[in-house]
């Protein structure tokens, strides 16, 4: 099975088809968002910026965008602080139940979104958190924590423990060692975790659909209702904006990763 020329040609053909299948569908929203018509026709017969104008002026779209950005920012800060602290606490420790604790921190990643959503919905109904900013923030924080913990823990693995001794031997207190040695070294990991936390919150649909109320919706929820209930090409503009934001941020993650592994 050395891969004769025919086999190779077939494989390359499959590769191209798969590439088209993976990449093109996502990009199709971009031309539609610049369409001058009020439909999803592709390719558009005329061009314009009306959909963007609607997106940035009509209150239901604009509000949901702003809500999403605010919640995502708060979630980023909260999840990054909590997750980084937890990763630091658990770094190089071993005790009974350590595995269960790791499992707990990873659980929101592994458990199907719909299960988390229904569980939170039932609880939030009783606690009066449905449709509140706090409800969104805690729900998204739970989902974002694993990303921060995983990224920071991985970064901490790269910190040579002897550096802590060296810093102490040179006169640095525990806090000074953390600020001047540990934190700078793990900064790329913390940054990656923070970006993941932002994107997780900004993109989240399933749990948000259950936590939302008509008065407080995030952008993905607004998009979901748009696809189900309306034929409104504004969603193409919304999709393009979301694509640009999340792609840019995840690109940043990739950049910080490359930097952190010289």
């Amino acid at each position: 099975m050395t891969g004769g020329p025919t086999l190779r040609r077939v494989l390359v053909g499959i590769g191209i088809l798969v590439g088209v299948w993976l990449v093109v569908p996502t990009l199709v929203v971009v031309p539609i968002s610049f369409s001058g018509e009020d439909s999803f026709a592709f390719p558009p017969s005329s061009w314009g910026l009306e959909h963007y104008a609607t997106f940035f002026t009509e209150s239901s779209w604009l509000t949901s965008l702003l809500v999403s950005l605010q919640i995502a920012l708060i979630v980023t800060v909260v999840a990054t602080l909590l997750g980084t602290a937890a990763a630091l606490a658990l770094d190089r420790t071993s005790f009974r139940g350590r595995g269960a604790l790791d499992g707990l921190f990873m659980a929101p990643l592994i458990i199907p979104g719909i299960v988390v959503a229904v569980a939170l919905y039932a609880a939030f109904l009783g606690w009066g958190l449905i449709g509140t900013p706090l409800g969104f923030v805690v729900a998204h924080t739970v989902l974002a924590l694993p990303f921060v913990v995983v990224n920071v823990a991985a970064a901490l693995q790269n910190v040579d423990p002897v550096l802590g001794r060296a810093a102490a031997g040179l006169g640095a207190s525990g806090w000074a060692t953390f600020r001047q040695v540990t934190l700078p070294i793990i900064r790329p990991g913390v940054l990656a975790g923070a970006l993941f936390a932002f994107v997780t919150s900004f993109d989240e649909v399933v749990v948000s659909l259950f936590v939302q109320s008509p008065q407080l919706q995030t952008l993905p929820v607004r998009m979901f209702t748009s696809v189900t209930n309306e034929v409104d090409p504004t969603i193409a503009a919304a999709s393009t904006v979301v694509l640009v934001v999340s792609t840019a941020l995840l690109g940043l993650v990739a950049l910080t990763r490359r930097k952190s592994t010289p």
Partner: protein, 305 residues
């Protein structure tokens, strides 16, 4: 170098003959463990408690007992949906494996630069927003959408895709592909090519060399990826909701209907618990197969729901 130091006296002398204070560092260690408490509290209150509450609801609402669970088995609609979900997940899994295997093999035989391109392409669905991607599929699969235009141009269309199982499969498999490509590629990269050459030199025909040597060696990767896709497909909500049709709903949609329209937390809880148990069992299997803890986490770390 001078020997004057502004802090020569900084090493404050400890009081002589003081009774030994308790070792301070173990205390510091304990304090640093406290740093995990806020995150743990959030997870306990907003994740563990709600999950346990749901479990509790499933055996207490509307009346105590396992009625909700026995109803799952007895109810025709439920069994139909569960079977449909399993079938759908299986179809998506098969499609993914059939596409991912040659793709991963291609990755092993191209140059490093092209391997990077192929990897980036397969990760695109990870990167892009779920809602944007799903909306794109709705547009593409509509009756006069691009896919139908292409099919029509080659004389195959038009075909109804939006609201059909075929459409959902196409959209779901796209997102799931990386979960198979990555473990299969990893398994293939670990295969010693010389084993295949050895088989050929011993007189095996290329097809035999493949089926008897290469395929078995790459199978663990396939198994790991396939199980992962199966698991994730079972819980899919957004894609089937928007690309599929309500008449062909899957388990996650059914759970959502129980909650939002029927306000039956007992039944929803029982369904969710069942889904969770199946998920964990299958994931446990994957972990036993691959023994790589990171792969699962970082895979899902792409932001799938």
């Amino acid at each position: 170098m001078t020997v004057t130091s502004p802090v020569a006296g900084a090493a404050a002398p400890a009081p002589p003959r003081a009774p030994d204070p308790p070792p301070g560092r173990r205390l510091a260690r304990r304090v640093s463990l406290l740093l995990a408490v806020p995150a743990l509290l959030v997870l306990l209150v907003f994740f563990v408690v709600p999950a346990l509450r749901l479990l509790w609801l499933s055996v207490t609402t509307p009346e105590p007992g396992f009625g909700n669970y026995t109803a799952l088995v007895a109810d025709d609609v439920t069994t139909t949906i569960v079977l449909r979900t399993l079938l759908m997940a299986a179809v998506v899994t098969v499609v993914c494996v059939l596409v991912a295997y040659p793709y991963a093999y291609l990755m092993t035989i191209v140059s490093g630069r092209w391997r990077g391109v192929l990897l980036a392409v397969v990760l695109v669905p990870f990167w892009t927003s779920l809602m944007a991607r799903t909306f794109a599929w709705v547009v593409l699969l509509q009756d006069n959408g691009v896919v139908n235009q292409v099919l029509g141009a080659v004389g195959l269309g038009p075909v109804r895709l939006l609201g059909t199982t075929a459409g959902v499969t196409l959209a779901m498999a796209q997102v799931m592909l990386p979960f198979v490509v990555l473990p299969v590629y990893t398994a293939m990269r670990g295969i010693d090519r010389r084993l295949v050459d050895a088989a050929l030199s011993l007189g095996a025909r290329p097809v035999t060399a493949f089926t008897r040597v290469y395929l078995p060696l790459s199978l663990p990767g396939v198994a790991a990826g396939a199980t992962l896709v199966m698991v994730l497909s079972l819980g899919f909500y957004v894609t089937p909701s928007l690309v599929g049709s309500p008449q062909q709903s899957m388990l996650a949609q059914f759970i959502s209907v129980q909650v939002n329209q029927l306000v039956d937390f007992g039944a929803a809880g029982a369904l969710a618990v069942t889904l969770l148990v199946v998920t964990l069992l299958l994931l446990g299997g994957v972990r036993m197969l691959t023994r790589t803890r990171g792969a699962t986490g970082s895979g899902i770390a792409g932001g799938l729901t």
